[in-house]
């Protein structure tokens, strides 16, 4: 066998020894920190000016308003209005897309059953938009207990679904691989191309297509809907865009259609996360085979210069070691 392959195999084995993994964590930490720095510079550059403009806009508008009405209002009264508004924001009212509802005194229950159902789903999937969040002490305690039980439950569900469809996932990957082999036989090309094609297909199914649906039902632009789908399925869940935020939409007027839609969006969350779980399962079982192969080859070649180290499966990114749970 070639020197190249020997070196590669040795590095694989070295990677599984415990000394190396401490080093690995250190390197990872440094890389992670650098990546965060990169992000901070980029976001600062992209967002800071815009924020300042918003700032200035409000100051200017208020300033000119005050100028115009100086003879009859004093600043204390403007402060009064501002404080009232901010108190409302503290209670979460600024998340409403349509503020005339409040101003007209139209009170809709944001914690009605369909909305609470969706809220529960966002808790157990750890998305946590924040548009609705418990304001009462009992609500918060209930939320903590609910999550403590619900998150493992969701984890189990996703793990089992992942196992169940793992073979189908591998099948699809193999099919992609085979069709790509017809184009070009080089191994690197196949591996990279399979990954790229697989990723693109997945991205289309999970994000691009649902985004079309949401842009229609919510009245968003396609870019907003796309952004929403991505932020939701990664479970980041900022909450700046949430499905069902605008109670004026026709689908939310009727209780039944509201229920139906909340259930549909919950299904979207679960299916999306399940598909991600399946992909991770399929990929990690692929790597199992690779390591078993490696071990067999080493035994066959009678490579005695390396002591028998048990090959531990390198945990796949995002997985908790020893389990199949996707972080």
């Amino acid at each position: 066998m070639s020197l190249f392959r020997k070196a590669a195999r040795l590095s694989e084995l070295r990677k599984s020894s415990p000394n190396y993994s401490a080093m690995k964590v250190c390197i990872l930490t440094v890389t992670f920190f650098l990546y965060l720095l990169l992000g901070s510079v980029m976001f600062h550059h992209l967002e800071s000016k815009h924020q300042e403009q918003d700032f200035r806009f409000v100051i200017d508008r208020l300033g000119s308003f005050y100028e115009k009405h100086r003879h009859c209002i004093d600043p204390a009264e403007i402060s009064q209005i501002v404080e009232v508004v901010l108190l409302a924001c503290k209670d979460g009212f600024h998340h409403l897309d349509n503020t005339t509802d409040i101003l007209n005194g139209n009170i809709t229950d944001r914690w009605d059953l369909p909305s609470s159902f969706f809220f529960s789903a966002t808790v157990v999937t750890t998305i946590g938009y924040g548009r609705l969040s418990p304001q009462t002490r009992q609500g918060r305690n209930a939320c903590i207990l609910y999550a403590l039980l619900g998150i493992p439950l969701t984890a189990i569900l996703l793990k089992e679904v992942g196992h169940m469809f793992k073979d189908k996932g591998i099948l699809i990957l193999t099919k992609i691989r085979q069709s790509l082999m017809k184009i070009h036989k080089s191994k690197t090309f196949i591996t990279i191309a399979t990954a790229v094609v697989g990723f693109l297909v997945l991205y289309c199914i999970l994000i691009c297509l649902p985004a079309l649906v949401f842009s229609y039902t919510e009245g968003w632009s396609y870019q907003d809907a796309h952004y929403f789908c991505f932020i939701t399925l990664t479970t980041i869940g900022f909450g700046d865009h949430v499905v069902g935020g605008n109670n004026d939409r026709v689908i939310y007027q009727n209780q039944w259609s509201k229920w139906a839609f909340k259930i549909l969006i919950t299904l979207y969350l679960l299916c999306g996360l399940s598909i991600l779980a399946i992909v991770f399962n399929a990929l990690s079982s692929g790597s199992e085979n690779k390591f078993a192969e490696l071990y067999k080859k080493r035994k066959q070649s009678g490579n005695e210069d390396v002591s028998v180290i048990e090959i531990k499966e390198d945990p796949k990114p995002g997985m908790i070691p020893g389990t199949d749970i996707n972080l």
């Binding site: 209005i81 808790v123 157990v124 946590g128």
Partner: protein, 326 residues
């Protein structure tokens, strides 16, 4: 791991969501409606006081603009020339952290289209990277947990292995709660000026990566945060997340193994049933025997295990048994 299992779990899951719906509705809805009534009254009062000076439209304009600005994350009340913006380097760093850990508080979120697109790409690379890091740390924590577990089993014995495991996980949870929730909560209470229950709530919501954003550290412009505090918070988030992930994985392993044990018991019963009628089956011929074996194999969820059946009905070594070694 067959369709039936998934079906049962899905059913339990749906029931759990419905339970949550009812629970949160009854706890939160009255409070919210009361607040809205209050807001309505406040508005009436405000209008009464200002009607001769401002028209309805003017008030609406101010309010709408202010709500929009606050929704974009500008902290209006504490605004002055020197207050930190939401996107200075420190805040942007914190924001990047909330993206890659998938906590996503949302008090800051990109409002420019380019910021959002960049956010998507940034997350696509950053989340797996963070996953790698957490896996590495999780491994270390897992090794420590296993050592503690061995020590625990040395001292305590019990006839119910599942109960024993549950006890161990609970102890681990309590220790973790002290280090990762109680102590940080006390610190937050002093530094951020929150109540202890609010701090506790914040810690939990953050470490599970739910991240509502109703409470966020480091937002008060009147407080001077030391560098040490900021870094301690970041470390706390990373290690705390790994720890909580470990707890959750231990809990779900326990639940899965317990379910497996129940399945094993069911399988035993089926075997006993088979032994009773075994003599009649030998007369029927091999095809029917295969049928029974197929049913039994179904309990393993794996059709390849058919040939391992023992005459005496001994339990063969299955992956499920590994969980009961404790």
């Amino acid at each position: 791991m067959n369709g039936k299992t998934v079906g049962i779990i899905s059913f339990i899951f749906i029931i759990y969501l419905l339970l949550g719906a009812v629970l949160f509705h009854f706890i939160e809805s009255p409070n919210e409606l009361a607040k809205m009534e209050e807001a309505k009254e406040m508005r009436v009062e405000l209008m009464a006081n200002l009607t001769d000076m401002l028209t309805d439209d003017q008030i609406e304009t101010i309010v709408t603009n202010l709500l929009k600005i606050t929704a974009a994350g500008v902290n209006f009340l504490n605004m002055n020339e020197t207050s930190p913006t939401n996107w200075d380097i420190n805040s942007a760093f914190f924001f990047s952290g909330t993206v890659v850990t998938t906590i996503g508080f949302g008090n800051n979120a990109p409002s420019t289209q380019m910021g959002r697109n960049f956010c998507i790409i940034y997350a696509l690379i950053g989340i797996p990277l963070c996953g790698f890091l957490l896996t590495g740390i999780g491994e270390k924590l897992g090794i420590l947990a296993k050592k503690l577990e061995a020590m625990f089993y040395d001292r305590v014995t019990c006839g119910y292995p599942t109960l024993l495991r549950l006890t161990y996980i609970s102890i681990l949870l309590v220790i973790g709660a002290i280090f990762f929730i109680t102590i940080p909560s006390i610190i937050f209470m002093h530094v951020e000026g929150w109540k202890i229950s609010e701090s506790w709530y914040f810690c939990f919501i953050t470490l599970t990566t739910i991240g509502f954003g109703d409470y966020v550290i480091g937002q008060r412009s009147d407080k001077g945060y030391t560098e040490f505090y900021k870094w301690a918070c970041y470390v706390w988030i990373i290690v705390g997340m790994s720890f909580l992930a470990l707890i959750i994985s231990l809990l779900s392993d326990l639940m899965t193994d317990y379910a497996g044990k129940l399945r094993e018991e069911q399988k035993q019963r089926l075997k006993q049933l088979k032994n009773l009628t075994g003599k009649q089956l030998t007369r029927l011929g091999s095809s029917d025997k295969k049928g029974i074996k197929g049913v039994e194999a179904g309990y393993h969820g794996d059709e390849d295990r058919v040939e391992e059946e023992d005459r005496d009905g001994n339990v063969e070594e299955t992956p499920l048994d590994a969980g009961e070694k404790f």
